[in-house]
Amino acid sequence: MKIRHIHIFIAIAIIMGGGIYVSSQLGLFHTTRAASNNTMRAGGQIQATSSPQSMGTARQMQTNLNESATLNMSTEDQENLNGSTHDVADIRGSFSLTEIERLYQVPPAAIIESFSLKENTDPRTFRLRDLKVLYEDYEIDGEIYEVETDTIKVFVSLYTNKPYTSDETFYLPEKAVNYLLRENRLTPEEESYWKTHTFDLDIYARDSHTIQAMAEQSSAASFTGNTTIAGLISMGMDEATFEEITGFEVPEDRNITIRNFIFAHGLGFDDVSEEIEEFFR
């Protein structure tokens, strides 16, 4: 059979046109980076970003533990990972407890109990970043730590036995460790480490007046997707910070909304907005 122009035309129509149509139907043709968290299919482990030399003993131990947890995973766990699972590293401060439950199968009650939240906390509206408002920073062995999104990542990693290596969280609230022990979620190695790396979260809880003041301050400096880049700069963000967060220079036309700028550059809205919020906080 000789291949003519018409055959090439048909091949292009079938393979390119049909391929795009089928992949769209299968959800494999997103032209923007997902705003929600990514799905990890390769089963790879997220590596610690800081160098081992800069880590303290506790940090190194925790890293080793996470690596050990990955290596010791059962075949079934590894198959789950190799199939399609949500990457713990993709948990964002903007996630609600309901989203954590949906994406990682960690019930809201587990986080509410482990992080001393009020029993009537609404899992749909409570965002992980709210933890920073509820609790003061705590100090252990001369180092300052925060209860924040990364703390939840470590908790979720231990609860679900999904790999995650943190270079920030080396202690967990006592209640969180007790909860994990009660639910039989820790390996013997993890148990021996975390039992000795706890702190009493309740003593760092802020009083209601402070929480309210911080919430008001936060909302005053808050921005939305419709905030323009000029607006961000007038709110106090310098150009260097903007470039650092987005990876791109401040455009000449500063009247572009941050949402459009993010999408125009193929960035994840949640990734960038969280860093901007972090800056203003």
């Binding site: 059979m1 000789k2 291949i3 003519r4 122009h5 018409i6 055959h7 090439i8 035309f9 091949a11 292009i12 393979i15 390119m16 391929g19 795009i20 992949s23 494999l28 043709f29 997103h30 032209t31 923007t32 980076r33 997902a34 990514n38 799905t39 990890m40 299919r41 390769a42 089963g43 790879g44 997220i46 990457d87 990876g247 791109f248 220079e249 455009p251 000449e252 572009i256 909304t257 459009n260 700028f261 999408f263 125009a264 550059h265 193929g266 960035l267």
Partner: protein
């Protein structure tokens, strides 16, 4: 150019122009999107989202870490597999029929043909031309390695596709504009200089010529040795002295075949079957 089948010649032209217009419209829509304006007719995806080479440079990070590098989306990765599948059957059809940079070079090159006549596309010394054609493989390897290490689109600052279709944008780098200008100038002397010497995607797709399911075959029994096929090939491939042509530079444009240039029926075409002896 059309000697015999005018319809066939215009079919490829139609597809080339259609894809060129489509990409132009998408890039305009993307710009409109950043201005808060609605898209016209088609979507407003970023140029990175519709370029299969984005899929090539993110493959390593996808396999090892399960991530796409910054600015690369799923569509780019999917397009890469579709283009590779197409190449497996019919070779680098993407280069000869779809790629807008190839199209722009091809039609801008007609100006060079008018200037230099028969000397056009034969101005580079053969020895230099031979070795320069391997440069694109070095470009491919360097870009893939650096992108995997840097986790960002290092090629963007040089990419003629990105530069041409967003030259009005502040994102375009001076290096990209200089390279694009150099390509346009070179196109006056050489046909498809970017494709021949530098294109990293063309390099990857070109490899498929060695094992494509449907190769170009010349029937030595019926060939009258007129060498028209050699003359019309935009990639300067010497076709007339081989029975099966598996050259890494072929772009499957079909200009040489008996449907367009070859004057003898069944003497030169792409086919599954072995040529009768």
């Amino acid at each position: 150019m059309p000697k015999k089948s005018t319809k066939s010649y215009w079919l490829r032209t139609f597809i080339q122009v259609a894809f060129l217009l489509l990409v132009t419209l998408i890039s305009i829509n993307h710009f409109r999107f950043t201005q808060g304006l609605p898209p016209i007719l088609v979507g407003s995806a970023s140029l990175h989202a519709i370029c299969p080479f984005g899929g090539v440079v993110t493959t390593y990070n996808y396999i090892t870490q399960g991530i796409f590098i910054r600015q690369i989306s799923q569509s780019s990765f999917t397009l890469m597999w579709l283009v590779l599948l197409l190449a497996l059957f019919v070779g680098p059809v993407f280069c000869g029929w779809i790629c807008p940079i190839g199209t722009v070079q091809e039609y801008f090159g007609k100006l060079g043909k008018k200037i230099f006549g028969k000397r056009y596309n034969n101005l580079v010394p053969p020895k230099a031309d031979y070795w320069l054609r391997y440069l694109r493989y070095i470009v491919l390897i360097v870009i893939v390695i650096l992108t995997a290490m840097e986790l960002r689109l290092i090629f963007q600052d040089f990419c003629p596709f990105f530069t041409l279709f967003s030259f009005w944008s502040a994102e375009v780098a001076l290096s990209g504009l200089i390279l694009l200008g150099a390509i346009f100038i070179a196109t006056l002397f050489v046909e498809r200089p970017w494709c021949k010497y530098l294109c990293p995607l063309g390099a990857l797709l070109g490899v498929f010529n060695f094992f494509r399911i449907i190769p170009l075959k010349r029937n030595e029994q019926t060939c009258i040795d007129c060498k028209l096929c050699d003359k019309v090939c935009p990639m300067n491939i010497k076709i007339s002295d081989k029975r099966i042509i598996r050259n890494h530079q072929c772009i499957s444009c079909l200009l040489c075949t008996d449907e367009i240039a070859c004057p003898v029926k069944d003497a030169l075409n792409f086919s599954f079957l072995k040529t009768k002896k």
